[in-house]
Symmetry: C2
DNA sequence: CTCAATTTGTTCGTATGTATG
DNA sequence: ACATACATACGAACAAATTGA
C-alpha cells in the first residue's frame, strides 16, 4: 500500500510540524493567550474589529472551531464581543494588574514591605537551614520557617516562604509572627546587614503556592529570592517569594543608578 | 430522577473542586511541571528515589494513570527512570540554563549586548512610531523596525523587536543592519541619552516569537522593554525583548545600589 | 428592495487525547 | 489492560445576520 503509507507519512509530518509537540497545552488556550495579550497591550484596541475568523484561521493555522473556542474563552472574560454578520470586537481590557513595582534597592524594598497586608499560614521553629548558594553566606544553626500570603484588595498576590535565623525570631516571637519580618530586622541596632542578594527568575507554581494564590498547578510565577547576610557572613534571612505573574513590573531607569521609578 | 440528578451534582462539584477549572491545561502536564521543578531545584536530587505512585496520587489528588503520564513525559526528557518493583529515580537534571544575568545598570547592559551573536530577521524603514507610555518621551517622526534573534551555543534565547529613530538608522545603515544597535548609538558623540527606562514583566509568546524561540504559543517569556530618551525628550530607541523564561536570572545586591553581581 | 459579499454561528463526522476507576 | 466518558481538533458544509452596491 504505497499510497496509504505515503498518506500516513504526510499526516505524521503535518503533526510534527504543528505547534502541538512544542507545548501540548490545548491549542485554543494557546491561541486565546496570544489574543488576550494583544488586547492587554493595546495592539487590539477597545472597540476595534479584530481579524475575521478566516484570517485568524490562516494566521494561527488552526481550524475554525478552534479559533471560536478561543474567542469563546475571551468572551467569557468580557474581552471580546462577537456579532453574527458584523465581526468580532474588543469589548474590554483586562483590568490593569501591574500595580506592584518590584524593588530594586533596599530602601524601596523596605517601604514596599511595610504596607503589606500579610497572613501567616504556617510557622515552624527550629528547622534545618535551607539550601544556600556559595555566594549566599553560611547558614545559621537553626531557622524558623514562616509562610505567609500577601493580599491586595482581598486578592492574594504573593506567597513568602521565609527562613529566619532562629535567634532573631526568638527575640520577638509576637511581632515576627504577625507582621513583615524585614522592618523588624532593620530596627535591631546590633544586626548589621552587609548584603541583600535578590534574584529574580520565572518559576512554576507548586501545589501549595497554586492553592494559596488560587492559580493552576504549574502556572508561571515570578520567583524572587532574597537573602540577607550579616557581618558574620551568616544568612540570617532567606526568603523565596512567589508573585503572581501579572501583578508586577520591575521598572528602572538604567541611567539613574538603580533608582526605581514611581 | 432524584438520585441521578444528585449523582450528577456530586460529579459537577467534584469537577469544580478539582484543579482543572483553574488552568485547563491537561492535568498530567501540570503534574509534570511541578515534578520537573523539584528536580531542577534539587529538591529531588539526582539518584534519589522519588515518592511512590501511591503517594503521588494522594499528593496531587489524581488517578494513577495521570501520574504515570507525567512520569512518562519526564522519562522522555531524561529526568526520571522508572523501574518496576524498585521505584522511580531521578536520572538527570535539566541543563542549567541560567547563564544570562540581566543588566540592571547601563554599563552592564552595554557590556552584555556587545558580545551578542545576533541574526537580523527583519528590517523595515520608515514605519510609524510604536505606542509610548506617557513617561516614555515623545515619538520621533519615523522609525526603522528591526527584528533580531540572539543565540547562545546555537540556541535562540531572545527576540528583539526594536524601533530605532529613522534618522539614527540612516547614519549607518550597514552597521545597524548587522550588529547590536546600542553600542553604535552610544558611540555617537552628538546623541545624549538622558534616560534608559527598562521594564521587566512576564508575558506570553506570540506566533512570531514562539517560532523564533522554538517554544509553544502562549508559553511564558520574560519581556523586557528598553526605551532610550535623548535630550530633546525623544524616544530614539524602543525595544521589546522577549527572553526564554529559563535562560536568565536578575541578580542584584540591593545594598550595593544597583550594581549587578557577576 | 433585492442581491451578493462578508462574516459569525451551527452542525456533522471523524480521529485522537485526557482522566477516571 | 480495559471500559467509559468527555475534551480537543480538524475539515467541510450550511445557516443566519449584516452591510453596502
Amino acid at each position: 500500500m504505497a499510497l496509504s503509507s505515503y498518506l500516513s507519512y504526510i499526516k505524521i509530518m503535518k503533526k510534527l510540524a504543528s505547534l502541538y509537540d512544542r507545548s501540548r497545552v490545548p491549542l485554543y488556550i494557546q491561541v486565546a493567550s496570544v489574543m488576550r495579550q494583544r488586547i492587554e497591550s493595546g495592539h487590539w484596541a477597545e472597540g476595534d474589529k479584530i481579524s475575521t475568523l478566516e484570517e485568524l484561521e490562516a494566521e494561527f493555522a488552526v481550524a475554525r472551531v478552534t479559533i471560536r473556542q478561543a474567542i469563546e474563552l475571551l468572551r467569557n472574560e468580557g474581552l471580546l464581543d462577537a456579532q453574527q454578520g458584523r465581526g468580532t470586537f474588543v469589548s474590554g481590557r483586562p483590568r490593569h494588574n501591574r500595580w506592584l513595582n518590584l524593588a530594586n534597592d533596599f530602601d524601596t524594598m523596605l517601604a514596599l514591605v511595610k504596607d503589606n497586608v500579610i497572613e501567616r499560614v504556617h510557622i515552624e521553629e527550629n528547622v534545618a537551614p535551607p539550601d544556600l548558594d556559595e555566594r549566599e553566606g553560611k547558614p545559621a544553626e537553626k531557622y524558623t520557617f514562616l509562610r505567609s500570603v500577601q493580599y491586595n484588595n482581598g486578592e492574594p498576590f504573593s506567597v513568602v516562604n521565609l527562613y529566619l535565623a532562629q535567634n532573631l525570631f526568638a527575640r520577638d516571637r509576637k511581632r515576627f509572627s504577625h507582621s513583615a519580618a524585614l522592618p523588624s530586622i532593620v530596627e535591631m541596632q546590633d544586626v548589621r546587614i552587609l548584603h541583600a542578594y535578590q534574584t529574580l527568575t520565572i518559576g512554576v507554581a507548586d501545589p501549595e503556592t497554586a492553592n494559596l494564590l488560587k492559580i493552576g498547578l504549574g502556572e508561571p510565577t515570578a520567583d524572587c529570592r532574597l537573602v540577607l547576610i550579616d557581618d558574620a557572613n551568616t544568612a540570617i534571612y532567606v526568603a523565596n517569594i512567589h508573585y503572581l505573574k501579572d501583578c508586577f513590573a520591575l521598572r528602572v531607569d538604567l541611567l539613574n543608578k538603580g533608582k526605581v521609578e514611581a
